[in-house]
């Protein structure tokens, strides 16, 4: 059970946070199809940052001295770096979409093409191979273990500690926290209301003195920052600390989760968890033992593993089939803001 929850969270959290980034862009009126590309870029930046700084620095010393606090700060710093660079990268989309009134779908597609090309080009030049890996066993530097919290290495430390403190990443919880904070920001603050207004009726918003251009830049930049960070979290927690110009379609899946969640944070969290659960089942159905009787129920069903792999996508389509009649996208998304239009 602990394993199931952990694995589900590992898949669900990057999806959740990146889907929320989509919400920020779209609620301000910009379709951010580039989530995949920004994630790829963010993953690369994060891994590159660690690759360049990990050896011969305070961080290596901290690892040897088992100074976990410094290591966690190091990880947070890397998340921040990825976020900043993700934001910078997303400016390309914001500039094309807002200042040049370009087609947002095409602009996003361009970034999706640019990110892997750029990343692979530089990985080849830097590492002379097709993927960039943190050196040594770096992902484990950042992994939380129950021994860090004073629990004994052997023996059961209780459900809570085994599930949430052992073999997890702080990044996961930081993402959940950011998710909560941003959801509140979007719904209860003046800024959030204004941002949403720009995605529904920018002309009306403008007439009330809201700077639509600024708001849309804000939406896209927040979106880029979080997607970049989400990319690094993906690379750390599911790609074993490597960047190879690919995030397994997570950016596109996040987009699906966003639509699935009807552009609302709570339903997005639900959708991401559902998707993460099925993804987890797909990855490890043959070692899942839910009731602890030592038998692997799903494995005994003798269903081909690729059927399980297919499930998350099938389920998403089925749920969408039932819900999308009532789905409601932000009214002005994808429409360049033109002051002269009514």
């Amino acid at each position: 059970m602990s394993y199931l929850i952990q694995q589900t969270l590992i898949y669900a959290v990057p999806l959740m946070i990146v889907a929320l980034t989509g919400v920020f862009a779209e609620r301000s009126g910009i379709i951010n199809l580039a989530l995949e590309g920004i994630m790829i870029f963010g993953a690369f930046i994060g891994v590159l940052f660690i690759y360049q700084t990990q050896s011969g620095t305070v961080f290596e010393a901290a690892y040897k001295a088992k100074d976990y606090l410094t290591l966690q700060l190091y990880m947070l710093l890397t998340m921040l770096v990825s976020a900043v660079m993700g934001a910078v990268f997303s400016l390309l989309l914001a500039f094309a979409a807002i200042n040049l009134k370009a087609d947002q779908t095409i602009g996003g597609t361009a970034l999706n093409l640019l990110a892997p090309a750029l990343v692979l080009f530089f990985i080849r030049i830097i590492a002379n191979q097709s993927n960039l890996k943190m050196e040594g066993d770096a992902p484990s530097w950042f992994m939380l273990k129950k021994t860090m919290f004073g629990y004994p290495k052997l023996g059961n430390a209780g459900f809570f500690a085994e599930t949430f403190l052992n073999k997890t990443y702080l990044a996961t919880y930081v993402c959940i926290l950011i998710f909560a904070v941003l959801s509140v920001l979007l719904y209860t603050t003046r800024f959030g209301l204004r941002l949403r207004a720009c995605g529904e009726n920018p002309q009306a918003a403008d007439s009330l003195g809201i700077n639509v251009v600024k708001m849309r830049y804000a939406g896209t930049t927040i979106s880029g920052a979080l997607a970049g960070m989400g990319g690094f979290v993906f690379a750390l927690t599911t790609a074993n600390g490597s960047a190879n110009g690919d995030v397994a379609g997570f950016g596109f899946l996040a987009l699906a989760v966003m639509i699935f969640g009807n552009w609302k944070p709570l339903t997005i969290a639900g959708g991401a968890l559902l998707f993460g659960l099925f993804k987890c089942v797909a990855a490890s159905y043959n070692i899942l033992d839910l009731n602890g009787d030592g038998r692997y129920f799903l494995n005994e069903l003798n269903i081909n593993s690729y059927v399980y792999q297919m499930l998350p996508y099938l389920i998403t389509l089925v749920v969408l089939a039932f819900t999308s009649k009532s789905s409601r996208a932000p009214k002005a998304e994808g429409v360049p803001y033109d002051k002269g239009m009514r």
């Binding site: 779908t105 361009a110 093409l113 987009l255 969408l320």
Partner: protein, 411 residues
């Protein structure tokens, strides 16, 4: 007279479109060259001379004939091998480009070409390897396999189209989901099959080449012109299909219905067009094109399909998007942009083989071109707005001249 104006106007429009695309391409190539220069100057073992070689390959990779053995200087000239391979690689690109373009004209963003492509290649391989060529003529098997691949792609596209038309599911999401479902389905189909290459022990991740069963796309003499390249008759099929799609879209009632649905779905419905049917059929055609791309690639006889594809989607499916965008979704223009992209692909290979750079540089160039094409429409509209006065003056001048002539004839 009104007809004449319309014609000259559309000619003007076309010229602007082509102009905008050419400008985008040029800027893309220059950006790539700048990147080469910067990387060359900052990387120890490349330097300025290496950068200059890289830039020449970016622009003229198609004409590269390698290095002179004695002097080590890059040589250029007509290279039948790279030309033939360019044509071979452009075949699937043209077809996936068509898959994206047709859907675009109906107002749909078909990001599902990778899945449709996979279904096409899967069914084509199943048919071409399962029917023994000792009993059925290989030509018949080839046609069955090709049509089967097209049909599979079409049906796969129909799923996304139907979800969009009847259940209002965003086609981008439907396409993404069906892509991954297709990737898993194809892996599922081949995972237990005896079509896997189990005779060569390093090749079990691949399906047998279709030439094992004597099935392969006819070369049609192209291999004589472009010696020792992979080219085959597939390129002619791709061009033929592009022309057919162009006629269908621009010269038939059905094509008009598709385009009308794309311009404004609700207005089209008001005019009596069954918009839902247009959406589904457009995706069927799009899927069939992507399926044909997969089928032709699989049936070439010398390609091997990596069947365990459940974690990755074929890039050629996604590359249909830039091909279509660069062609402004015109089927005829797709032929040329597909070849252009294949040419860049070849340049990338030459960069990798001959210099310290790698093939991803050309992907960067492509993405820059797509980025520019996002607002090439904007640039064009700007041009239209500003030379409106000029063209109005010209056309009124033309009208008055023609009017005078007619008056003269009347006398």
């Amino acid at each position: 007279m009104a007809e004449m104006n319309e014609k000259s106007y559309s000619r003007l429009e076309r010229r602007r479109t082509v102009g905008a695309s050419l400008i985008s391409i040029l800027i893309g190539l220059v950006t790539g060259s700048l990147l080469i220069l910067i990387v060359g100057l900052t990387t120890k073992n490349i330097g300025l001379s290496g950068a200059w070689e890289g830039i020449r390959l970016v622009f003229g990779g198609l004409f590269s004939t390698g290095r002179d053995m004695a002097t080590g200087v890059l040589t250029f000239g007509f290279n039948p091998n790279t030309f033939g391979n360019m044509l071979f690689r452009s075949t699937p690109l043209i077809l996936t480009g068509l898959a994206v373009a047709v859907a675009f004209r109906t107002g749909l963003f078909n990001i599902g070409a990778p899945g449709q492509y996979l279904m096409g290649i899967c069914v084509a391989l199943l048919i071409s390897l399962s029917i023994p060529s000792s009993q059925v003529s290989p030509v018949i098997i080839w046609f069955l396999a090709f049509l089967g691949g097209m049909l599979a792609g079409g049906l796969w596209g129909a799923i996304s189209g139907a979800l969009k038309a009847f259940l209002n599911i965003n086609e981008v999401i439907a396409c993404i989901m069906t892509n991954w479902i297709a990737a898993n389905l194809v892996t599922l189909i081949f995972s237990g099959s005896n079509l896997r290459n189990l005779t060569e022990n390093t090749k079990s991740a691949y399906i047998y080449k279709t030439s094992v069963n004597n099935v392969a796309t006819a070369k049609l003499g192209l291999d004589k012109i472009f010696s020792d390249s992979q080219v085959n008759g597939g390129i002619l099929i791709a061009i033929l299909l592009a022309i057919l799609i162009s006629v269908l879209l621009n010269r038939t009632v059905f094509g008009f219905e598709l385009r009308a649905t794309g311009s404004n779905r609700y207005a089209a419905r008001y005019a009596g067009i069954v918009d839902k049917r247009s959406i589904v059929l457009s995706m069927v055609i799009a899927g069939a094109m992507a399926g044909a791309a997969g089928a032709l690639y699989g049936l070439s006889g010398n390609t091997e399909f990596y069947w365990s594809t459940y974690q990755s989607l074929p890039g050629v499916g996604f590359n249909g998007i830039p091909v279509a965008l660069l062609a402004s979704n015109s089927p005829i223009a797709v032929i040329f942009t597909g070849m252009f992209m294949a040419m860049l692909d070849i340049s990338g290979q030459q960069l990798k083989n001959l210099t310290g750079y790698n093939e991803y540089l050309t992907n960067i160039i492509i993405s820059v071109i797509v980025y520019l094409s996002a607002f090439s429409l904007v640039i064009r509209n700007f041009l239209v707005k500003h030379d409106d006065g000029v063209s109005r003056a010209l056309s009124s001048l033309g009208n008055s001249l023609r009017g005078n002539k007619r008056k003269g004839a009347g006398k």
